[in-house]
């Protein structure tokens, strides 16, 4: 298990860092928010990210990718988290390409993965139906019809739903609403008849949406993975996504912490720098320690994804460990980010507010800390 970045990964990280700082700083997100941008992401910036090969980072060469592994995608996500880069990186690259790789048949992989790498296809995962994440809780149905399937139901918290070309939709093909059995995944054209997508403006200014499926007809080839038995592969996809989101959170919390340190060394009260107060020093030192643990958790999890000998069970444990830990620490650091900056932290003009907003969305996305502690306990047999 590699807990330290390789030379190549470090180079990639450095270049991603300078790209995000120069091309996609937090002010870009602010601009998208203030201008009520219809897309919710900057297409020119996305085009440059495609140019840099970020969309093919974890895709094997045989499908047009660059085979740099999840370790590579992870450092890019971490740097994108530093500046809160809003782009289809998570919806399409981290989740979409992974879902097609893990669930798709050869034809689907050959056809769709090169499109993602080239930036020609955007995807969104339509999974959650309730206010809290529980992947087995799916009431959306897919029934067999002549030549394909018919989908009906509604989804919520669909990241990038309104810009996606294809919705990776989890539907029930048999069993009870809460059962892990009887789930199937379909690739649904966003433009198909019966699909209605309503963009939701979330607190973090990223793209989310509610999606309705009313008797949406999809052809047989739209089935992604095993009919009626997709849960296991889907879980693997979700675990990879959780680890990727943890990497993104790692970047964001480091940015907040660095901002705190700068402020502690520059703000004076009572005639001294506030960073000399032990009440603040110890909290900063504790945050530092927690962030160090987060770095290790993310590195361990990413390196597990690139290790062919790791079982799905092992990946599940480490994914829940990482998502739980990072969610907790991002909660802490984003709160301290406001408190330790004092009044200025509360102003919209200062960037730290963007991070606490992103923190809560990222914490909830694909399961919050409580969800993952529960899952971790179950996976460990207690």
């Amino acid at each position: 298990m590699a807990l330290v970045l390789s030379e190549d990964q470090q180079l990639l990280k450095d270049s991603a860092k300078s790209f995000c700082e120069q091309i996609a700083p937090v002010s870009l997100l602010r601009k998208l928010r203030d201008s009520k941008d219809e897309q919710g992401y900057d297409q020119a910036v996305w085009a440059q990210m495609i140019e840099l090969g970020w969309a093919g980072m974890a895709v094997p060469e045989s499908y047009g990718g660059f085979e740099f592994g999840y370790g590579g995608l992870g450092v890019v996500l971490e740097e994108s988290g530093r500046t809160l880069l809003s782009s289809p990186l998570i919806s399409t690259v981290l989740i979409g390409a992974t879902a097609i790789l893990e669930l798709g048949n050869e034809t689907q992989k050959q056809q769709l993965l090169p499109q993602i790498v080239a930036g020609e296809l955007l995807t969104a995962l339509a999974l959650d139906e309730h206010t809290t994440h529980r992947p087995s809780r799916v009431a959306t149905t897919a029934t067999k019809v002549e030549g394909g399937y018919s989908l009906s139901g509604s989804k919520t918290f669909v990241l990038d739903g309104h810009i996606a070309n294809k919705l990776i939709t989890v539907a029930r093909t048999s069993g009870e609403t809460d059962s892990e059995q009887g789930l199937s995944v379909f690739l649904v054209d966003a433009a198909a008849e019966g699909v209605s997508i309503q963009r939701t403006i979330m607190v973090d200014s990223r793209n989310s949406s509610n999606v309705q499926f009313s008797d949406v007809q999809v052809p047989s080839e739209a089935l992604l993975g095993d009919f009626d038995g997709a849960f296991e592969s889907l879980s693997k996809v979700l675990d990879i996504a959780r680890i990727g989101v943890a990497a993104e959170m790692l970047g964001s919390m480091q940015a907040v912490f660095e901002s705190i340190l700068v402020y502690l060394k520059q703000r004076e009260q009572f005639g001294v720098l506030i960073g000399s107060f032990q009440g603040l020093q110890h909290r900063a030192a504790e945050m530092y320690s927690e962030i160090e643990l987060c770095k290790s958790a993310v590195r361990a999890a990413l390196s597990a994804l690139d290790d062919p000998e790791k079982s799905s069970q092992e990946i599940a444990v480490i994914a829940s460990m990482a998502k739980a830990k990072l969610s907790e620490v991002f909660f802490l650091v984003s709160n301290e980010g406001i408190q330790m900056h004092g009044g200025i932290g509360m102003t919209d003009e200062f960037d730290v507010g963007f991070y606490i907003k992103r923190a809560r969305v990222a914490q909830q996305f694909l399961g919050d800390a409580a969800f993952h502690r529960d899952r971790y306990a179950s996976l460990n047999g207690f």
């Binding site: 298990m1 807990l3 330290v4 340190l261 502690l264 060394k265 001294v272 720098l273 960073g275 000399s276 107060f277 032990q278 020093q281 110890h282 900063a284 030192a285 504790e286 530092y288 320690s289 160090e292 643990l293 987060c294 770095k295 290790s296 958790a297 590195r299 361990a300 480490i318 829940s320 460990m321 739980a324 830990k325 409580a370 502690r373 529960d374 971790y376 306990a377 179950s378 460990n380 047999g381 207690f382």
Partner: protein, 409 residues
């Protein structure tokens, strides 16, 4: 050069042939080997195991072969440690000579001092104790007042130390003494070694909230020590003292790691799994029935996992040979807090059976747990309190300004 794969295979087969069967079981407190002139081996296999390891220098795998160490590089040492873990081998020797004095003696001692002391540490012939804290100098260690006056080629030492672990059993002491009272406190300290059998030394054990303990008070009354026993330069002992503390903290941070057989700060509990214990005491079979305890245990285990990865990462990062640095304070602090959490959860897990003090009604493990839970409270005090570690992180790692120097401005 020998390939690492070859080294692994040779190591594995050597261990297969040389590690006695009884040394591949969980350590029990009575059988921990501390070495020394009066070394006791409750289990005769312990002696064989120590001698075989010492023969190869593998009690101190990375120390130079010139002084009896194993002479292994970092990669080989990692392999050795993995292979030891693989067969669940006990440590052959547990000593403050290995974990604290040796590394700084190798860094700051002169050739004669290394030649005299290092091989005896490797072989477990001399048992060391640490003369640091004093009744008036705890967290403010540098205010220490034990005095060493040079008279001819001998230092005359007067004063007292406290929290000297195993002072009553140790053969030698590494000790911080004040050699100049006229200069700022950090600039008048020296680091000196002397024989505990010297005339004028007395010790008195300290009873703790957990019962009897290895800690002692140690008194020096006109103790004569050869001037050549001073390590490093006169009045520059504070640098060595801090360096040694980093090694000590690295060692103590290991308390937070639940896997492997390491010295656990006076605790060698065989506590296997928190969750398993909690379930068996409650009669739960598939899932821990108390949802709050279950959540707390999950959180604890997640933190432990992340901490274990961090310890490993810190070893990988120090491969470039920097040795422990200020991050040892982070590891020490976090590891100790984790260990305390573990014992609190363990008490919760077994309920009133974990609160027995002595006598009937409790089995040995339960009684041991009560004591260890109490003993674990010291983890965040010894080797520098958690508060001191946080100060070190704030100052040395985060570069935050020092309130004392700001106030003096």
């Amino acid at each position: 050069m020998q390939s690492l794969q070859d080294f692994r295979e040779e190591t594995r087969s050597w261990l297969e042939q040389n590690c006695p069967e009884s040394m591949r079981t969980a350590m029990v407190q009575e059988e921990v080997v501390w070495g020394g002139r009066n070394a006791q081996f409750t289990n005769p296999d312990s002696k064989i195991w120590l001698e075989r390891l010492a023969q190869k220098g593998w009690t101190c795998p990375t120390w130079p072969a010139e002084y009896g160490g194993g002479g292994l590089d970092k990669d080989q040492a990692i392999i050795l440690s993995e292979e030891l873990v693989r067969i669940n081998a006990r440590p052959g020797l547990t000593s403050f000579g290995i974990s604290m004095l040796g590394p700084v003696l190798l860094e700051y001692g002169n050739h004669e001092q290394k030649l005299e002391h290092i091989p005896k540490i490797v072989r477990g012939e001399i048992r060391w104790c640490q003369g640091y804290s004093e009744p008036g100098s705890g967290s403010d260690l540098a205010s220490l007042a034990t005095k060493a006056e040079l008279q001819g080629d001998t230092y005359l030492i007067n004063g007292s130390k406290v929290w000297t672990s195993y002072a009553d059993k140790a053969d030698w002491i590494f000790c911080l003494v004040r050699t100049d009272f006229e200069v700022p406190k950090h600039a008048g300290i020296s680091f000196i070694l002397f024989d505990m059998a010297s005339e004028g030394i007395s010790t008195k054990p300290i009873q703790l909230i957990s019962g009897s303990s290895p800690f002692c008070e140690t008194f020096f009354d006109d103790v004569k020590v050869p001037a050549s026993n001073l390590v490093g330069r006169l009045n520059e002992g504070w640098t060595i003292a801090k360096r040694l503390l980093q090694h000590e903290r690295t060692m103590i941070s290991g308390f937070g790691l639940s896997s492997g057989q390491s010295d656990n700060g006076g605790t060698t509990s065989t506590i296997s799994s928190l969750e398993g214990t909690a379930m068996s005491y409650r009669g739960d079979s598939e899932k821990l029935s108390d949802p709050v305890l279950r959540d707390q245990i999950a959180q604890f285990k997640i933190d432990s996992d992340a901490f274990a990865y961090t310890s490993r990462r810190s070893i990988e990062e120090s491969k470039q040979g920097q040795g422990p640095n200020a991050t040892s304070s982070m590891l020490k602090n976090y590891g100790c807090e984790l260990n305390k959490r573990r014992y609190e959860l363990m008490l919760q897990a077994i309920g009133s059976q974990g609160l027995g003090w002595e006598g009937e009604g409790f089995n040995d493990e339960e009684l041991q747990l009560t004591r260890e839970w109490l003993r674990s409270k010291a983890n965040s005090i010894e080797g520098g309190t958690s508060e001191v570690q946080l100060n070190v992180i704030a100052k040395r790692v985060l570069g935050l300004p020092d309130i004392l120097s700001m106030a003096q401005k």
